[in-house]
Every structure is written in structure tokens, then in C-alpha cells.
């Protein structure tokens, strides 16, 4: 007994030492950062402090004003280079450089998001396993989490390789731009690299320690390691986000793009935090989609019932997690858009009502598709429960409601038009359709869709169970009435919007959204409490789900991927002809914005390349546990600087 305890203690010590060692360089790097430039808390330093700082140093240092924070700082960097079209600033292959970079970036991003999202799932699922009282269930959860991390491990090395390819593509095709960006971010570059190393190390200990650390205290330690892993991963992503944040809404530099010595300003730009939140949620939804597709693939290729049951269950869990993060995503998107408008109204208009407006129409369609697929999956999933049949006949009404909501949601309001078209239509709005495409109606549409999804989910939860609590009757009636009035309220607010002036109307979306969220939270909670000790009509027969449902999962996954590509494209192209918005101009021959069709084709190509390659990763995963995982290289693999070619 004593030896085991000692062993455990030793293991704990060894582990802490390792993690400590991994994090040491990062910690050590931070003071260096602080001396290189003050990194004060959010909100920026008080201007007088900055001024005093300047006064102390010699008189001859040049000072300039931050473009965003408006504080004064000592110029400590070169201005953004003025590029000219030619092989010096824009060397190229016989192809559009931007498309190559687009491809490299998107692939790295797909894999990166996947690799960052899966450990979060692992954490959640492992935790569920640890706290589960049911031994068999606990083991099942644990196995699932292990399966997840196994998939992500191969993807992890691919992410690193793609990161390397991305850097090389940048260096070969956009040397001036990349040079400028890395000069701005120099103070945190090594932190980025070290965080990456720490992430790799933790991931490996986490993965290989799984079997060794499966009991008692060690299990908790293992679980806490997943937390550390996710913290490191999130920091890594935040740092990566600061680059794109800087490109869209630069700060910490003066008008000529000269670095002003405060790296926190450079990182903490106007759009950084909204982007961070949006990306975390997006990654989770995306990760859920990928894992669900993996499960669907294994389900469809399963040879026996046992396998089918396992992968049906896995697909269900992954889908639920993905959708759980999909629901708050539009609100995060709303915040991001609001910040965009606050930062530059022009940018917001380009997005929502100008050049890129059609892409948002596609996005609206895709959101509708995502919710329709989710609903379809849930309805199909009723089929694997005995007792689910009693809900089947209502589904057609659901479809009707969903389709109505969808049609309202995708009706466009104002469009970019040529003056001739404008004249033909007698105004910017279509004489008939224009009335339906206004925001208050659209919000009504999407909220109806989400509320219906909530209702589907509640029915799904009840599929094989009958509430047995004493107040079940009241509960049912209350739930019915509450949903009814939720619909009434949403639709009423949508109609009411037509009768009041625009400045009052914009506020209506908030109670509308609150109504939807009320049904989500209250009704799910009510349902769960009603189902406590519920009468089982029959067991959930995992694996009995229809084959079609699995295609719904694949649809979800593909649509997630596509939408991610689309939104990424929108976010990136809103800068129009700026490398760094209003600081560094894009003078390459590709500074124009492509047509919607070209973008759609490009996104499709990216999506398909990602799926073909990740299918390969899945396939590698099925080769069995005997195969040792691929060695992870440092972020810069020794490959010839050949840009990735995907076509």
C-alpha cells in the first residue's frame, strides 16, 4: 500500500515538474515582454503615464499617436512598407498568389480549429465519465474521450505541417507584408512558439498517460491536465487571433504603421475579443461537426450491431455538443458585427449592405440549412427509441413552421444594385419583397426556427419516457402554453416592427431573442425536472437509427465547414485593398474582391480538400492502436518552400 502511495506521489511530482518545465519558458518570457514595452491592463495606460514615460527619455525620441487608443507613444519601429507591384514585394508563381495563400490559410485554420476544439470535448466527456455513477457508462465516456483525442493527435501533426506551409507561403508570396507583421508582433513571437511547444508536450503527456492515470487521484490529475491543455490551446488561439485583429482594426501603431512600444495595444485591438469569443464557439461547433461526421462514417461502415450502437451514440453526443455551441454563435456574431460598426461604420456597411451583402444571404441560407438538418436528425433519432413513434405524426407541422421561418429569414431586404436597376425598381427595396425582408421579420424567422429546434429537442428527450412526477399534467399544459405564447410573442414582435419607427424597431430584436432563449433554458430545465424518475417506455436502442440520419450528420458537418470558410472569407475580404486596414495597402494585382461565385467555388474546393484529407486521417486512425502516432514536428517543418497546391 505504502509503495503505491509513494509511487503515486512520485508520479504527481514528476508530472508537475514536467508541466512546470513546459510552462517555464512562457513564464520566463513574460518579464522580458514587460520590459520591452509596458503591458498595462485593458483600457490602456493613463495618457499622462505614457507622457511622463516619454518625458523621461531623451528629448530627441520621436513620439506619435496611436491610431486607435489615441495615446502617445515613442516610435520604436519602422513604418509600414509601401509596396509596389512587382517581384520584390509580391513574388509569384504563375498563379494568383492570393488564392494560394487563401488555400494554405484555410486548411491550417480548419485543422487548427479541429485540434483546438477536440480537447475541449475530451475535457467535457472525460469529466462526465469521472462524475458518472454508472460504472459501465463511465467507462463508455472514458473510451469516447480517448477515441476523440486519438483522432485529434494525427490531426495535430497535420496542423503543424500546414502551419509550416502557411508560413512558407506567406514568406514566398507576401514577403513585405509578412515582414511588417512579424516586426510588429516580434515581442510575442517567441511566446507564441513556446506556447506551441507547451501545447504539444501537454497533449502528449495527456494522451500517453491515459492508461497509466485512470484511477483515483491520478484520474483527477489527468482531467486537470486536460484543463491545462485547453488553457494553453486557447492562449495560442488568442495570440493567433491578435494577428487578424490587428489586420482588421489596427492599434498600437501610428498612422504610418510605426510600432509605438506597447504590445498590449497591438494585441488588444477593437475586434480582438469579439473575434476570440466567436472563434471559440465556432471551433466547438465545427469540432462537433467533424467528430459527428467521423461517427457517421464509422456507423455507415460498421460491420456489427455493437459497433453501430457505439458510433450512433458517439454521433449523437458530438452533434449535441456541436449544436449546443451553434446556438449562442449568432449572438457572438451579433456582438462582433456591432463592434465592427463601432470601429468603422464603413466596414459594417460593406459587410451587410454593400459589396459583401450577397455572401450574408448565403450565410442566412446556411444557418437555415444547419437548423433544418439538426431537426431532421432529431426526428430520425426518435426512431431508435420505443415510444418515439407517438411524436412522428406532428413532424409535418414542424416542417411547415420551419420552412415558413426559413423563407422569411432568407428574403433579402436591400441589395447592391446598379443605378439602372435602382431606377427600375423605384428605390432600393423591392416593391413587394422589400416589405418582408426587413430585419424585424428576419429576426422573427430565425427565432421561430430556433424555438422549433428547442421543441424538437424536448420531444427527443421525451422520446422513450413518460413524465411520472405528480405535477406532470400541469407541467405539460404549462409547457404547451409557454411555447404557444413564445411563438405568439416572436411573431407579434416581428409584425409590430412594421408599425413603429426604425429607431424603436431595432430594439425589438432583444426581447425576441430573449423569448427564444427563455424557451431554451426554462423549457429544457422544466423538461428535465419532469423527466426525473420518468417511466421508461422502452430502452434507447442505439444503432437502430436510420441510415438517412447519418447523412444529416454529414450534411451538418459539411455545412459547418462550408460556413466557416464563407465567414472567414467575408471577414478577411472586408479589408478590401488593405493588408492592414488603413495602414498598409495591398498593391498586388489581386487587391480587388472576387465575385460571389468565385468565392463559393473556392470555398467548396477548400471544404472538399479538408474533408478528403481528414478522411485520410480517420482512415489512419482505423489502422489500429498498434501503429504509433506520427511524430510531431516543430511548427516549421523542413520542407521546400513550395506553396501548397490544391487544384
Amino acid at each position: 500500500m505504502g509503495s503505491i502511495t509513494r509511487k503515486k506521489t512520485l508520479a504527481v511530482l514528476a508530472l508537475s515538474a514536467m508541466i512546470g518545465l513546459l510552462l517555464l519558458p512562457v513564464v520566463a518570457a513574460i518579464p522580458a515582454l514587460a520590459s520591452g514595452g509596458e503591458a498595462p491592463a485593458a483600457g490602456g495606460p493613463p495618457p499622462d503615464a505614457a507622457k511622463k514615460d516619454g518625458a523621461e527619455s531623451e528629448k530627441k525620441v520621436e513620439k506619435a499617436r496611436d491610431v486607435y487608443y489615441k495615446t502617445e507613444g515613442i516610435v520604436s519601429g519602422a513604418p509600414a512598407p509601401k509596396t509596389t507591384d512587382g517581384p520584390k514585394d509580391y513574388p509569384r508563381y504563375n498563379f494568383e498568389s492570393r488564392v494560394l495563400l487563401w488555400f494554405a490559410n484555410q486548411q491550417h485554420l480548419y485543422y487548427g480549429s479541429f485540434v483546438l476544439a477536440v480537447p475541449i470535448f475530451c475535457m467535457v466527456i472525460e469529466f462526465m465519465g469521472v462524475v458518472s455513477k454508472d460504472k459501465a457508462m463511465a467507462k463508455k465516456y472514458d473510451q469516447l474521450a480517448y477515441d476523440f483525442i486519438k483522432i485529434s493527435l494525427t490531426a495535430y501533426s497535420l496542423t503543424a505541417i500546414l502551419g509550416g506551409i502557411l508560413i512558407f507561403t506567406f514568406l514566398t508570396l507576401y514577403p513585405a507584408f509578412f515582414g511588417y507583421l512579424s516586426s510588429i508582433f516580434r515581442p510575442v513571437m517567441h511566446i507564441y512558439a513556446l506556447t506551441f511547444v507547451a501545447e504539444s508536450g501537454t497533449l502528449y503527456i495527456y494522451y500517453y498517460g491515459w492508461d497509466k492515470m485512470k484511477e483515483g487521484l491520478l484520474k483527477w490529475l489527468h482531467l486537470s491536465m486536460s484543463v491545462i491543455l485547453n488553457v494553453i490551446g486557447t492562449v495560442l488561439m488568442f495570440l493567433a487571433n491578435s494577428w487578424i485583429g490587428f489586420m482588421m482594426s489596427p492599434a498600437g501603431v501610428d498612422e504610418q504603421g510605426r510600432y509605438l512600444g506597447n504590445i498590449w495595444h497591438v494585441i488588444h485591438t477593437a475586434l480582438w475579443n469579439p473575434l476570440n469569443l466567436h472563434r471559440i464557439l465556432g471551433n466547438m461547433a465545427f469540432g462537433g461537426g467533424v467528430v459527428a461526421a467521423y461517427a457517421a462514417y464509422r456507423f455507415l461502415s460498421a460491420k456489427n450491431d455493437e459497433e453501430r450502437a457505439h458510433y450512433d451514440w458517439m454521433g449523437y453526443i458530438a452533434m449535441s455538443l456541436g449544436v449546443a455551441f451553434l446556438i449562442p454563435l449568432p449572438f457572438a456574431g451579433y456582438w462582433l458585427m456591432r463592434e465592427v460598426y463601432a470601429y468603422r461604420q464603413q466596414m459594417g456597411i460593406t459587410l451587410m449592405g454593400g459589396l459583401l451583402a450577397w455572401l450574408f444571404i448565403i450565410q442566412a441560407t446556411m444557418i437555415g440549412i444547419l437548423f433544418l438538418s439538426t431537426n431532421y436528425y432529431l426526428w430520425q433519432a426518435l426512431g431508435r427509441m420505443r415510444g418515439g413513434e407517438r411524436f412522428q405524426r406532428y413532424i409535418k407541422y414542424f416542417v411547415f413552421i420551419l420552412v415558413c421561418g426559413f423563407l422569411v429569414f432568407i428574403t433579402p431586404h436591400t441589395m447592391v444594385m446598379t443605378p439602372a436597376e435602382l431606377k427600375a425598381m423605384g428605390g432600393q427595396q423591392h416593391p413587394v419583397l422589400g416589405n418582408y425582408g426587413v430585419m424585424s421579420a428576419k429576426n422573427g424567422g430565425i427565432n421561430v426556427i430556433i424555438t422549433t429546434t428547442v421543441l424538437s429537442f424536448i420531444w427527443y428527450q421525451r422520446g422513450n419516457r413518460m413524465p411520472a412526477v405528480s405535477w406532470a399534467k400541469f407541467g405539460n399544459i404549462f409547457m404547451g402554453v409557454f411555447f404557444f405564447f413564445a411563438y405568439v410573442n416572436i411573431i407579434w414582435l416581428a409584425i409590430y416592427g412594421y408599425f413603429i419607427p426604425a429607431n424603436v424597431r431595432v430594439g425589438l430584436s432583444v426581447p425576441q431573442v430573449a423569448t427564444t432563449l427563455s424557451t431554451l433554458f426554462f423549457m429544457t430545465a422544466l423538461n428535465l425536472s419532469m423527466l426525473k424518475g420518468a417511466k421508461q417506455i422502452g430502452p434507447i436502442e442505439w444503432g437502430k437509427i436510420s441510415v438517412r440520419s447519418q447523412y444529416a450528420l454529414i450534411m451538418l458537418a459539411t455545412a459547418f465547414t462550408w460556413m466557416m470558410g464563407l465567414m472567414g472569407y467575408i471577414r478577411s475580404s472586408v479589408r478590401l485593398f488593405w493588408h492592414v486596414n488603413e495602414i498598409m495597402r495591398d498593391n498586388s494585382p489581386w487587391a480587388y474582391t472576387h465575385t460571389v461565385g468565385f468565392a463559393a467555388n473556392m470555398i467548396s474546393a477548400n471544404v472538399l480538400f479538408f474533408w478528403i484529407s481528414i478522411m485520410f486521417v480517420f482512415w489512419l486512425g482505423t489502422l489500429g492502436a498498434k501503429k504509433a502516432p506520427v511524430e510531431v514536428k516543430s511548427p516549421v517543418p523542413g520542407r521546400a518552400p513550395e506553396p501548397a497546391v490544391g487544384h
Partner: protein, 40 residues
């Protein structure tokens, strides 16, 4: 039967009151008047 009617009535009252409060206060929070049309 009487019980059912009572349940329905109670539910309706709670739901309507709840959503009205949501509408009113969430508009109020933004400094807007939910009852705009009716006061006009």
C-alpha cells in the same frame, strides 16, 4: 376537467405576464418604449 381549465388559465396568465415583462423591460433597458404605438 375543471382542473385542466384551471391549469390552462394559470399557465396562460404566467406566460402572457412573463412575455409582456420581457418585452417591456428589455425595451426599457435600451431606453426604448415598447408601448410606442399604443401611446401614440
Amino acid at each position: 376537467m375543471g382542473k385542466t381549465i384551471m391549469y390552462v388559465v394559470v399557465s396562460v396568465v404566467i406566460s402572457v405576464a412573463y412575455f409582456t415583462l420581457v418585452d417591456h423591460f428589455l425595451m426599457d433597458m435600451q431606453g426604448l418604449d415598447y408601448w410606442y404605438l399604443f401611446r401614440k
